[in-house]
Symmetry: C2
């Protein structure tokens, strides 16, 4: 185990004083959600970059459980910030462009009023008497700060984990004050498992004999063992099983020599002992209890219906990011948020970033090239609400790796046909939208209500860079997120032949779209028929069908006639059929099933 | 939350005295693996059923961390045993047939010598002075007991979790004394994550002020808070996220009223508080430390090579069972054990039981219909080493759901052909073996060295019931477990057309088998060609090709000629080709690619 193993995203800095903190005194009162009120609040916050004259470039950063206002360094001599990798000049959250504000949370112990602060009513520290607070209370305090800074509408609110709860709260309680919401590694409510870990951590603190019912400061002591145990447990949940293996398995039994009363006979044991001991130097046990309880009590709704009723109020554009190896805030919870927003017709993008780093991923550099660039692209387009810089060559040369039009990407005459078929005021859902070429074509044509679903992480990022809304999703999982007739058009171009459950997907498309457009290669095309009938070989050719039988992504082998039979058997209306010869780039008017290598149908229930 | 939520598999019984315990005094000394020796050991054990005259029907049960000798009730008035569902007359481990022995583990606190026992050297209780023990020490003590009972060879050793470590130890240290090994929900070594949870649990105990460096008994106290915290943490890891959700989410905030000093404001919180408090009534903290350390130190090898060197010694037949939702001992660890045993050419069956119950699954009734029946079938065939009761109708009517020979299962002339092609002394690996029909045919023909891989849980159980060795595996994951030329024949019958990565699978087969036999439907069969060329439709027919383009499992569309081209391009030797008309049940001698609906190739590198 290297020394590095002892460094972690948020514990590199111990209890040193923060040098660039601003303090805002709010005399209050702040009325609390669960009863009671606080007066004479201090808000410790730091800012980066400059607020522009129209005051519309402000971004609020909401920190997680053990974070603070020092999100980034202010200069080279400054202490490291907890999100230096993401915030600074030229970085994903670019302080050359944006005015970044990061306050310490209410109830914390790094400057803002919390259990360790003096209670003005008694002149003694609050301790355990600090009232129960919620994510809502933390946000209300942030609201007062934003008012104080003269900002009405935030360009974006950004936060991960507990910070994500604040993002969700901002967007739903103050919809007029948030233009963009970026929620990372978070959820509408904790899983039972995550809640259970918090309970054990709090029990460790509360049953530490030095806790003294929370009045430990009066006794000049602290529940150091309990807080360290809670922190050790937390650390396990922030890492993924695979990152723990990589970190500690090169030598499981090797330990580091340092002074601790905790067990250190395994490498992971001495790491946990070190993290536990360090944490108690910089964090307050009552703050830990109050903030973890605020997380545990956060509940935006436990069913899609409840969630929908809450998220309905939001008016911002959303970016939701989860991480594949995060088991504390599992990706399914973020997917559910994205799905409910999709169902509501909100502007939302979602990506489940492939990561080995667990819940901590959003604080680490490993996956920054994905989640950082997603944030940058999202903020870019939030900053330029009318995207006019779509390059024409991008539109005509999609070069999508998923294209079956040959490796060099030729002009997509099927896109031309689809664009012609769709009214400019129509809402469109593009299934398997790739890098967003068709959607960009539609936007150039005047369409505005556009949503894409795409499986590839790279393609999701490409769409965001074009200012398009795209949700990462596997079509084989269906379209349950969407309401009946939610879209004027649902498009499935060149994908049906690669779908596992064809019947379900078509039936879902018919439910969700007033009209559906399906395009696919025609395997009864004359050249392909001849290969089988005359040569006895599985059909393939250049371009459209360049793959061999053993490596083709096309797992469904069917013809125009087959698709028409399929529709007839299910009483599916065929409104229009366009048959194409993509090699000759022309529309076929004769015997389509024999002469077209591709077809496009407009269908409905 | 119901009262039931407070019941758990192994805590239903509190500290009551066990009535049917036998005590065996072993004067020793027992030399311990990590140094030191123990003298004057007491072994508390219970037995069920009767030892037969040849003393070859004995089964040893190894309990998990918090278990004891009381594995099952002895009669209706008896207290519940921790595995009543699995052990008893007519149950999977049938005490009408087998003599079942369950000793309390060395280092435990339920009768067998452990930290709570009197140290004969000092006349005081051992406490923290009890030596460090290993799974090996626990097994050596069991060995002495088995000797005492006059048993040389155990029909089976069975255990889950920590008990599984003992099973692995028995099979590798005393190969001549174990005929069958059943290892459930276990691993060759703990994951770093599981180890880390144990470390936190031990820290909670050791830093409890009442621990007194392990001498708490001398001070007439006990580290009840620390032990309860360790137990709470353990409980979370024994459950799956989904089972926790199902148990506690109907009402997250509802709590149960009972006397505790732990937090109980969430339903899961009051459950954990209850479990923690109950546990300290029946378990000793020093035992918890010693036994959890024995688990943490268990290490059969951290690479396949190290594992292989250890498992090489085993001579028993193996049954390895994991559970899909077990994240404490993840299925991959059991798969690795099975793979290494396969690679060594050992007799092994493996099943990853679909379960929602997490690590506890092996103690619960939910999945007993699968894991219990797997154990029953395994023990049945261990009890009847020569299986002669294969019913002929089973062989000729496979009725496999995966059969592509029509829903009613007709005679498989391809099996007849394959059996004819394989020498009776050859070793055979059947990929996608279904319910074992081909393997049973081969066994009837005299073949003995037979191994099957199959994805379906139901089919794995069917194979075990036939006394066949089968490992649950997805062919799309490859054959990395096997060595070069490990088998005389590798068979892939009627599956190639459903495989994703054809090239990899064929190349793996050629590596692992001296000869490979591949059979598949021929899509250039005359009737199929005509459907495409004359009707312009995707080919389908009755029987062999009864599926439609949108629901067929056949995702690869190829002909005999295509396969021959494929072999030629890769310099794969074709030793034999058999072309069949399965409707007419005859071999085709003319234009195979036109007239055969199925083909069978014998190939090699």
């Amino acid at each position: 185990m290297t020394e590095d193993a002892f460094q972690s995203s948020d514990t590199a800095r111990s209890g040193r004083l923060l040098k660039h903190v601003n303090n805002f005194q709010f005399d209050g009162p702040l009325k609390l959600e669960l009863g009671g009120r606080l007066q004479g609040i201090n808000v410790a916050y730091e800012t980066y970059g400059r607020l522009n004259s129209s005051k519309d470039n402000a971004i609020l950063i909401c920190h997680a459980l053990s974070g603070d206002s020092h999100v980034a360094r202010h200069n080279e001599d400054d202490d490291p910030g907890w999100w230096d990798i993401a915030i600074g000049p030229g970085k994903p959250i670019d302080t050359n462009r944006y005015f970044v504000i990061c306050p310490n949370a209410l109830g914390g112990c790094r400057g803002t009023t919390g259990p360790n602060s003096l209670n003005p009513a008694t002149g003694r520290r609050f301790g355990a008497e600090f009232p129960r607070i919620t994510a809502g209370d933390i946000v209300e305090m942030q609201c007062v700060l934003i008012d104080h800074l003269g900002i009405h509408r935030l360009l974006a609110v950004i936060g991960g984990s507990m910070g994500g709860h604040q993002v969700l709260t901002w967007a739903t309680r103050h919809p007029d004050r948030v233009a963009g919401a970026i929620a990372l590694a978070t959820s509408a409510r904790l899983t039972t498992q995550a809640l259970a870990f918090d309970v054990v951590g709090r029990n460790a603190i509360r049953r530490d004999p030095n806790f003294k019912h929370g009045r430990y400061i009066d006794h000049d002591t602290a529940p150091a063992v309990g807080l360290a145990l809670a922190r050790m447990l937390g650390h396990i949940t922030y890492l993924s099983p695979e990152s723990m293996r990589e970190k500690f398995e090169p030598n499981r039994l090797q330990t580091r020599e340092f002074d601790t009363e905790f067990e250190k006979q395994f490498s992971v044991g001495s790491y946990l002992a070190y993290q536990g001991d360090k944490f108690v130097e910089r964090f307050d046990a009552n703050s830990y209890i109050k903030l973890s309880l605020a997380m545990d009590l956060f509940d935006l709704g436990k069913t899609p219906e409840e969630l929908s009723a809450r998220l309905f109020r939001s008016e911002c554009r959303w970016l939701i990011i989860s991480f594949t190896s995060d088991w504390l805030f599992p990706p399914e919870q973020s997917q559910e948020l994205a799905n409910v927003l999709l169902g509501l017709g909100k502007q939302v993008s979602y990506c489940n970033v492939v990561s080995r780093c667990g819940h901590d991923a959003f604080l680490l550099s490993d996956d920054l090239p994905v989640y950082g660039e997603l944030m940058r692209a999202f903020l870019d387009s939030a900053d330029n609400e009318q995207i006019n810089d779509i390059r024409k060559d991008e539109i005509s040369n999609p070069q999508s790796p998923a294209s079956i039009f040959g490796p060099n990407g030729s002009h997509r005459i099927d896109y031309d046909q689809i664009v012609q078929l769709i009214r400019t005021d129509a809402s469109v859902l593009d299934l398997g939208c790739g890098r967003g070429s068709l959607l960009a074509n539609l936007r150039s044509n005047g369409n505005r209500r556009l949503t894409g679903l795409e499986l590839s992480e790279t393609d999701v990022l490409a769409c965001l860079r074009r200012g398009l809304d795209v949700v990462q999703a596997d079509l084989n999982s269906g379209l349950a997120a969407f309401a009946e007739a939610q879209f004027d058009y649902v498009v499935l171009s060149h994908t049906l032949q690669a779908v596992r459950d064809v019947e379900r997907l078509i039936s879902e498309m018919l439910r969700v779209g007033r009209r559906s457009i399906v395009s696919f290669p025609n395997f009864a095309y004359i050249k392909l028929r001849k290969m089988l009938s005359e040569q006895g070989k599985s059909p393939n050719s250049s371009g459209l069908l360049r793959y061999k039988w053993y490596n083709t992504p096309n797992i469904r082998f069917f013809s125009i006639t087959d698709f028409e039979d399929f529709c007839r058997e299910r009483a599916i209306h065929i409104h229009e059929r366009v048959a194409l010869d993509t090699e000759e780039q022309k529309v076929i008017t004769g015997d389509a099933n024999l002469l077209a290598d591709m077809a496009l149908f407009v269908i409905s229930k």
